[in-house]
């Protein structure tokens, strides 16, 4: 059914911490691995070892540079996958009902047996979260690892999306946004979690935590250990002292410090 549910019991999604992400792409690889071996059609590659390799990915990490007016530039690694929007435009455009948003937890999924591969849902998504698999000719997207999070065959610590489980920096968090006391709700409230392209009216569930600003330029700061590194002798003596004075006395200017 491609009409959207008016509300969902849970609102499962991710918090992505742009302050913490180091841009290692481990989430990209673990996502590709898990989703190639499990739910639905595998994520194919075309010409993987050739001159122009391409492939289907459900999660990709961009990198952006921010240049503030009065502060040093920052490099932000920016993982992007399906945001499981409350008002998902990809769902309503689907002519067959293959795209749907689950009433119980808000996950946006594709029933691949019903997908005709028209690509309209990918057109409707502002975030580039959907990719047509070039081998299977069906639309692929993040499932929030629906086959992990409820999977009782897995140890409890593994019952979260593969990208979250694998992140070595702890930059990805999984939880229920409908519960104001959940880890993701609290993180969003404390750190000012934000929506991507709010003007599109998609009401994304996933939130991004902004990078903490670098409050000032620290390049001129004095190290805490600096006092211990100051020269012990103020007057030079011995052979080096004589050489210093002799060189100073020679014509021409000497650059550098007073020592």
């Amino acid at each position: 059914m491609t009409t959207l549910p008016t509300s969902t019991t849970k609102k499962l999604g991710l918090v992505i911490d742009l302050d913490t992400c180091v841009g290692c792409h481990a989430c990209v690889i673990s996502c590709k691995g898990w989703n190639t071996e499990n739910y639905g059609a595998p994520l194919s590659d075309q010409d993987p070892y050739g001159e122009n390799p391409t492939g289907t990915f459900l999660n990709r990490v961009h990198s952006y540079e921010i240049q503030p007016k009065e502060a040093p530039a920052q490099l932000i690694h920016f993982p992007k996958s399906c945001l499981h929007c409350e008002d998902a435009p990809c769902v309503t455009v689907c002519p067959t009902g293959a795209s749907y948003k689950r009433v119980e937890d808000g996950i946006v999924l594709v029933n691949e047996q019903d997908c005709i591969g028209c690509g309209l849902c990918a057109w409707a998504c502002p975030y580039g979260a959907r990719e047509m698999d070039q081998e299977e000719k069906v639309m692929k997207k993040c499932t929030l690892c629906v086959d992990r999070i409820y999977n009782e065959n897995l140890p409890e610590e593994d019952r979260e999306p593969a990208c979250v489980r694998t992140c070595p920096a702890g930059a990805r968090h999984f939880g229920d946004f409908a519960d104001p006391e959940s880890n993701v709700s609290r993180l969003t409230a404390e750190r000012g979690g934000m929506d991507l392209m709010p003007e599109m009216g998609t009401k994304p569930v996933n939130k991004y935590l902004p990078p903490r600003p670098k409050d000032r330029d620290r390049s001129e700061d004095v190290d805490i250990l600096a006092p211990f590194l100051e020269p012990v002798a103020t007057e030079t003596t011995g052979f080096l002292g004589w050489l210093d004075k002799a060189l100073d006395a020679m014509p021409g200017s000497s650059k550098g410090g007073k020592n």
């Binding site: 990198s63 921010i66 002519p95 067959t96 019903d114 990918a122």
Partner: protein, 289 residues
């Protein structure tokens, strides 16, 4: 957006075919017998040929019948239903004209409205796409509808109607370009809103997520031949509206046939631009806008 030839062919041919069906349905002209057979064959070849072409870009055309299910929310589904309804009703009207030498006026009017409705639903598939600001405005359905009706009038030999309708089609097409050129900047969507980082300073794409290309870049960030866009626009308008208006002044049959051909090629060029010039906001994430 990637200009898929199958989709451009569909919207050009079907637009003209449904335009002709609409005029036949309204009784302009109202042929009977063998002449009716020829008129309806031309209209159905165009409309159905276009519809068949549109299935070529599907990943799984064998599942196309499933696309009739979601008419409550999906314009693509509505288009399918509307097209089939128009073709069935007009087949009934055509059968009356060919086999019984009668024109069932009411059936014709319903069929005509469904034919125009089909082109409207096609246009709404694009108009509803918020992620392509160039399409997401009133000029898109106006342009599709006016071109469909003008083409229909031209092909149906309604010379006195065709001239003002062709001018109108040209005007709406130009309006679509004029509004469209400013649509992305007017939408307010930028790399700053896409990343949410705009308040901190100027955002610049530093490195893409992958070294090669991908589906998103091929489908949504198509830029080839943009440098020829202005020339193509002039060619499209001249062939679509200006030349046909001049060719039908003399009421010559051969020149009228040339006018239809010129119109068809012009619309094809305009539809190619409709896709090739359309900027999808996902390109912002790749620093490509």
């Amino acid at each position: 957006m990637h200009p898929a030839p199958s989709v451009i062919l569909f919207s050009t041919l079907s637009g003209l075919g449904f335009g002709l069906l609409a005029f036949l349905g309204f009784g302009m002209p109202s042929p009977t017998g063998f002449m009716a057979f020829i008129w309806f064959t031309i209209a159905y070849l165009l409309a159905v040929g276009g519809l068949i072409a549109s299935t070529f870009h599907l990943g799984h055309p064998e599942r196309a019948l499933k696309a009739f299910k979601q008419w409550r929310s999906s314009w693509l589904s509505r288009e399918g239903i509307c097209a089939v309804a128009a073709l069935l009703v007009m087949a009934l009207y055509g059968a009356g004209a060919v086999f019984f030498d009668t024109n069932w006026t009411l059936v014709g009017i319903v069929g005509a409205l469904l034919s125009i409705g089909t082109v409207f639903t096609t246009s709404m598939i694009y108009t509803q796409i918020k992620t392509v600001p160039r399409w997401n405005n009133l000029t898109t359905p106006l342009m599709f509808l006016s071109i469909c009706i003008a083409g229909g009038a031209l092909l149906a030999g309604q010379v006195s109607l065709a001239t003002p309708l062709l001018v109108l089609a040209g005007v709406t097409q130009i309006a679509h370009w004029v509004f469209g050129d400013k649509a992305l900047s007017n939408s307010g969507t930028t790399l700053a809103t896409a990343t949410g980082l705009g308040a901190r300073g100027e955002v610049r794409a530093f490195e893409p997520p992958h070294t090669g290309t991908n589906y998103l870049l091929k489908e949504f960030v198509y830029v080839i031949a943009r440098k020829h866009a202005l020339k193509l626009r002039v060619i499209a308008i001249v062939l679509m509206a200006v030349l046909p208006v001049l060719l039908i002044i003399t009421h010559s049959h051969i020149l009228a046939a040339l006018a239809v051909l010129s119109h068809l090629v012009g619309v094809f060029a305009a539809r190619w631009l409709f896709f090739a010039e359309a900027e999808h906001v996902v390109g912002l994430y790749y620093g490509k806008r």
